[in-house]
């Protein structure tokens, strides 16, 4: 049987997380379908139809699905489920919100956050904030899965030519209504898609001091992250948070500034390719995962770093 991927998007563009999820789906079975639910989202369906390895794309285009209300999306996926052995979505707040609802309606378990596909019923996922890896086997006939996107490369987006099929549905469950959203407007890359991330912790001392990180982020085209301690202290909003309780990232370069390296933070960034730590405490646990560390005062080091970056750019 085929595998179905629930696509995350903003009605205009597919989110990168979906491309990693398609790769995970292809490791389960050669036959992969995708479904796009939204409003005026035909461009997203076009983008998905060009992804390598996608056989068919379903599109459900109606105002009811614009804001991805779980109570409205779940019944449609459940109706399609009989044709699929596995249904996958990224383990983002989008996937985490909807997929368990689908699993319960199908009376099957969900497998959260898979890091690898061993075979069609066996997967590896992190537990205890990534301090242990669990290899598990699902005995359910149908597998509902969320995918830890940093563990899978993005599928190629320029070589497919899948059929797009419209599904005519508009059933409002009438349970939840969208009221408003406040999305952070930023020209910087999204945390989970960034090639370089610079993150600040409690050592930044205030939200204002994050300016120092912004200056460097601008020069490196980096995203800005934070530890839970910095979020709890009110320096930056929660969606900056990298860690077990925030976002899991794996950029090519992760620069941790004034972050001690609590277990819960390490769980969110330890798979980064190169990790740099800047901290005044030489015994800080962050140095145990860092490829390069500098012990010292971040308020002296950051301006210097900014200057040195100008030199290599020129």
């Amino acid at each position: 049987m085929s595998v179905l991927v629930l696509i995350e998007h903003d009605n205009k563009n597919v989110k990168g997380s979906s491309l990693n999820t398609i790769t995970a789906a292809k490791k389960i079975d050669k036959s992969v379908h995708a479904i796009v639910l939204g409003e005026n989202c035909s461009k997203v369906a076009d983008q998905i139809s060009k992804c390598e390895g996608i056989e068919e794309v379903f599109i459900v285009d109606n105002n009811i699905y614009k804001n991805h209300i779980a109570e409205n999306i779940a019944p449609i996926i459940v109706e399609l489920a009989s044709k699929y052995s596995h249904i996958l979505a990224p383990s983002s707040t989008f996937g985490k919100n909807i997929m368990p609802r689908i699993a319960a309606l199908l009376d099957v378990a969900q497998i959260s956050d898979i890091m690898s596909v061993e075979n069609s019923d066996t997967f590896i996922r992190p537990i205890y904030a990534g301090n242990a890896n669990l290899k598990l086997q699902s005995i359910d006939s149908k597998k509902i899965i969320t995918v830890r996107t940093t563990n899978f490369v993005a599928t190629k987006t320029d070589r497919g030519n899948a059929k797009i099929t419209k599904i005519d549905k508009k059933e409002d469950a009438g349970l939840s209504k969208f009221v408003k959203n406040e999305l952070n407007k930023s020209d910087r890359p999204e945390l989970t898609a960034a090639r370089i991330i610079i993150s600040g912790g409690r050592g930044m001392e205030s939200g204002k001091n994050f300016n120092l990180l912004e200056e460097i982020a601008d020069k490196l085209k980096a995203a800005i992250g934070a530890s839970r301690a910095a979020v709890d202290a009110g320096f930056v909003p929660n969606d900056y948070q990298v860690g077990q309780t925030g976002k899991v990232v794996a950029p090519e370069l992760y620069i941790a500034v004034g972050i001690s390296g609590a277990i819960q933070h390490l769980a969110g960034m330890k798979d980064s390719k190169i990790i740099v730590a800047i901290n005044k405490d030489e015994d800080a646990p962050i140095f145990q995962v860092a490829d390069y560390g500098i012990v010292g005062d971040l308020f002296k080091i950051l301006p210097e770093l900014s200057k040195e970056l100008d030199k290599i750019k020129s």
């Binding site: 209300i69 779980a70 109570e71 983002s92 707040t93 989008f94 985490k96 919100n97 909807i98 368990p100 609802r101 689908i102 699993a103 319960a104 009376d107 969900q110 959260s112 066996t122 205890y128 301090n131 242990a132 890896n133 669990l134 290899k135 598990l136 086997q137 699902s138 349970l175 939840s176 969208f178 959203n181 406040e182 999305l183 952070n184 999204e190 370089i196 929660n238 969606d239 077990q244 309780t245 976002k247 090519e252 370069l253 819960q264 330890k270 190169i274 740099v276 030489e282 145990q288 995962v289 490829d291 390069y292 560390g293 500098i294 210097e304 770093l305 040195e308 970056l309 030199k311 290599i312």
Partner: protein, 251 residues
């Protein structure tokens, strides 16, 4: 409208503890490990107690599923301000779908208007139970909540989503799962800890609810994540930049 609130609480390894994988790779070694209430559940209890203080709620029922020791976790909830506890006693591992099925039965018997629960437990990190429970009941779900506004039977839930915040409006009864910034849980005072010892805890088993516990996800092997090679300390920013630029070629 005065509400009744149900708050599920889970006994998990304390969030400060560094866990150890058993040498036979069958699981995580929890012998002699400090256990606490799951931090997200503490936030849920705190929110319920706040609603009670605002007289929006008049009864808070805490429920826990697990071994006899989960009674300690219920006592903690009672000390923070829950009124009574229900312990579903079992020695078996209960996975999210079965937890949701047990909670559904308890909800049918107790008719709460709102279920406030942690978005995930910090042991299995599943982040499923609230959404599954909402599905089984056909109720609305407000997941990853950072703010609640209650007006009669209407409730607005502000959710922490990737990229910012989203507010959904729904009607009670509903399921709300808590995120970190919803509140800061209080410490239980000594008099309240003493008082909690007198509060009632009802004990039942999954069998009493005609629910059969089965593990749909079989543990094959638990391993420690691969260790990273130890890195190096550099003495200057210049040295760092040259390593990143010339050796690693990441900038």
């Amino acid at each position: 409208m005065i509400m009744k609130i149900l708050v599920p609480v889970k006994r998990v390894v304390d969030f400060n503890v560094k866990i150890k994988v058993k040498s036979d790779n069958s699981g995580v070694d929890l012998e002699n490990t400090k256990m606490s209430m799951n931090p997200f559940d503490e936030i849920a209890v705190e929110e319920a107690v706040k609603l009670k203080e605002k007289k929006i709620c008049d009864e808070i029922i805490a429920i826990s599923i697990g071994s006899a020791k989960s009674e300690e976790t219920l006592r903690t909830a009672l000390a923070i301000g829950a009124d009574k506890g229900i312990l579903i006693e079992t020695e078996e591992e209960v996975q999210p779908l079965e937890v949701a099925k047990i909670l559904k039965e308890i909800i049918k018997k107790n008719n709460p208007d709102l279920v406030l629960m942690g978005k995930q437990a910090i042991d299995d990190d599943s982040n499923q139970t609230g959404q599954m429970l909402a599905a089984l009941l056909g109720w609305p779900q407000g997941t990853f909540a950072s703010k609640l506004e209650i007006n009669g039977k209407k409730i607005n839930v502000t959710r922490e989503i990737d990229g910012g915040l989203e507010t959904l409006g729904m009607e009670l009864p509903a399921i709300v799962t808590t995120d970190l910034r919803l509140n800061e849980p209080r410490y239980a005072s000594l008099p309240n800890i003493m008082k909690a010892k007198q509060k009632p805890i009802e004990k039942i088993t999954p069998g009493d609810l005609n629910i059969e516990i089965k593990q749909r996800l079989k543990t094959l092997k638990v391993t420690e994540p691969p260790k990273k090679e130890t890195g190096i300390k550099v003495d200057s920013v210049q040295e760092l930049i040259s390593k990143l630029h010339e050796k690693e070629k990441v900038i």
